[in-house]
């Protein structure tokens, strides 16, 4: 029951931030992919089943909000949630470097996928879309690590733990 409460709260915060403050920032060119950030954080903590469920629910809500291409965020975030959840079984999840790499990879993949739906104008668009992917990745990944660290500090315990069988476990 507690997991469900945290699940709903995290999704709610991510969606409200996306439609208020972050939307204003994005319009000025600073894109923070809060959907990926929340999905990666959740999947690191709750593993692949919950990760995929969280990604699907969050993505579907974002898709319904956008009104076009319903299912694009849901599909990408489901797979990312599952992938990060599976990887978290074999990684030192408390390591900021691990989190940074996961966030870089996940943000880049999600942005490339989302950009594909906006792509028109042939090769002329490639440069701009690449810039958009790079900017979102550069912004989201370090911010995500900070958010994960702050969350960890607030809960005053290891939030994510380490992979079973690793030396730090």
């Amino acid at each position: 029951m507690r997991v469900l409460g945290v699940f709903l709260f995290t999704a709610l915060v991510a969606l409200v931030l996306r439609s208020t403050m972050l939307a204003g920032l994005a319009a000025r060119g600073v894109v923070v992919d809060v959907l990926v950030l929340a999905t990666v954080a959740w999947s690191l903590r709750q593993r692949e089943s919950w990760g995929a469920t969280f990604g699907f629910v969050l993505g579907l809500a974002a898709d319904l909000d956008a009104a076009h291409w319903i299912g694009r965020h849901a599909l990408a975030l489901t797979l990312l949630g599952y992938g990060v959840g599976r990887l978290s079984n074999t990684l030192v999840r408390d390591s900021p470097l691990t989190q940074l790499l996961l966030l870089v990879l996940a943000t880049a993949l999600h942005q490339v996928w989302a950009s594909a739906f906006d792509a028109s104008g042939g090769l002329a668009a490639v440069g701009w879309l690449a810039g958009r992917v790079a900017l979102a990745t550069v912004t989201t990944a370090p911010l995500g690590v900070v958010v994960l660290l702050v969350t960890q500090l607030f809960t005053r315990r290891r939030r994510y733990g380490n992979a079973p069988g690793s030396s730090a476990a």
Partner: protein, 301 residues
């Protein structure tokens, strides 16, 4: 090989397969699903949280905004005094020319609760007023700077407006000074920009000129600023001009807006442009003869 996996992993594989399949089905048929009701429920659920988040944002920026607004009020007061003088003679001149009286816009102030849609630019907003407040589908949405979009979905206490940054929106516009007509569209790639298209090469448009909504528009009231000409080029066909605009309204900073009723469709349901500058004598309502009235009616259809 799901059957060779441990039960927990098998369950997660089944789960992700179901989610992925569902997402793919939605991608294929999602546009046909009537999602407006779901969006209405979502907007209603999220409205209190959006208000809280918006209040924090407003509080944070209120000091700087207050200073700007003071300066703006002073500037507008000076301009208002000048316009009052012109307004006194305008009805007299219109009457002499046989033009109908200018119908002002009735504006309903609303709060922008949330921005929705694409990255990097939003393509829709949730508004704090709905059907209970008299908002109807098709109403124009604008700020004090200019047009931002059009109401596309209405619920009892809230509504959703599609912005001019939605690539599926098109607005009939004209250059304010010369009356050159064209169509405003948002082009997302290779970089997001507002484009004033379908302008013939022979038409003269200059950088810096203001573009406003056209009186030929069936959806928007006339004369609402849309943007200023920033760059002029020839389109891919080489037959038309492609004019890039700087938007009049700041899409990145939407907090308050106004809803203005757009031109309503006629009672017979057949939409047709109504030329506001059309002289009354051609409509047959004043002296002008049956022939002129009949001609006007034919042209209007």
């Amino acid at each position: 090989m799901p059957s060779m996996l441990p039960p927990a992993e098998r369950r997660s594989v089944v789960l992700v397969t179901v989610y992925a399949a569902l997402s793919l089905v939605l991608l294929l048929v999602g546009e046909r699903i009537p999602a407006a009701g779901l969006r209405g429920v979502g907007a209603w659920l999220f409205a209190p949280f959006d208000r809280v988040a918006g209040a924090g944002d407003r509080l944070f920026t209120s000091w700087a905004e207050n200073t700007q607004l003071h300066a703006r009020v002073a500037r507008l007061e000076v301009e208002n005094a000048r316009l009052r003088l012109m307004a006194a003679e305008s009805p007299r001149l219109r009457e002499q020319l046989g033009l109908p009286a200018w119908q002002g816009l009735s504006l309903r102030p609303v709060e922008v609760l949330a921005l929705a849609g694409g990255d990097p630019l939003p393509n829709a907003v949730t508004l704090s007023a709905g059907a209970n407040d008299g908002v109807r589908i098709g109403d124009a949405v604008l700020t004090s700077d200019g047009l931002i979009g059009r109401v596309s979905e209405v619920w009892p206490g809230l509504s959703r407006a599609t912005l001019i940054t939605d690539p599926n929106q098109a607005v009939a516009c004209e250059v304010e000074t010369t009356g050159v007509h064209g169509i405003l569209r948002f082009v997302p790639t290779p970089r997001p920009r507002l484009v004033f298209s379908a302008v013939a090469l022979a038409d003269t448009v200059r950088v810096g000129e203001r573009v406003v909504t056209s009186d030929l528009s069936l959806r928007y009231p006339r004369g609402v600023p849309v943007g200023r000409v920033a760059r002029i080029a020839t389109d891919a066909t080489g037959l038309m001009q492609e004019i890039e605009l700087v938007p009049a309204a700041r899409i990145a900073r939407l907090r308050h807006a106004f809803v203005a009723p757009g031109p309503r469709p006629p009672a017979d349901g057949i939409p047709r442009p109504r030329l506001e500058f059309e002289p009354d004598r051609l409509t047959g309502s004043r002296a002008g003869g049956r022939a002129a009235g009949g001609d006007s009616a034919r042209r209007a259809r």
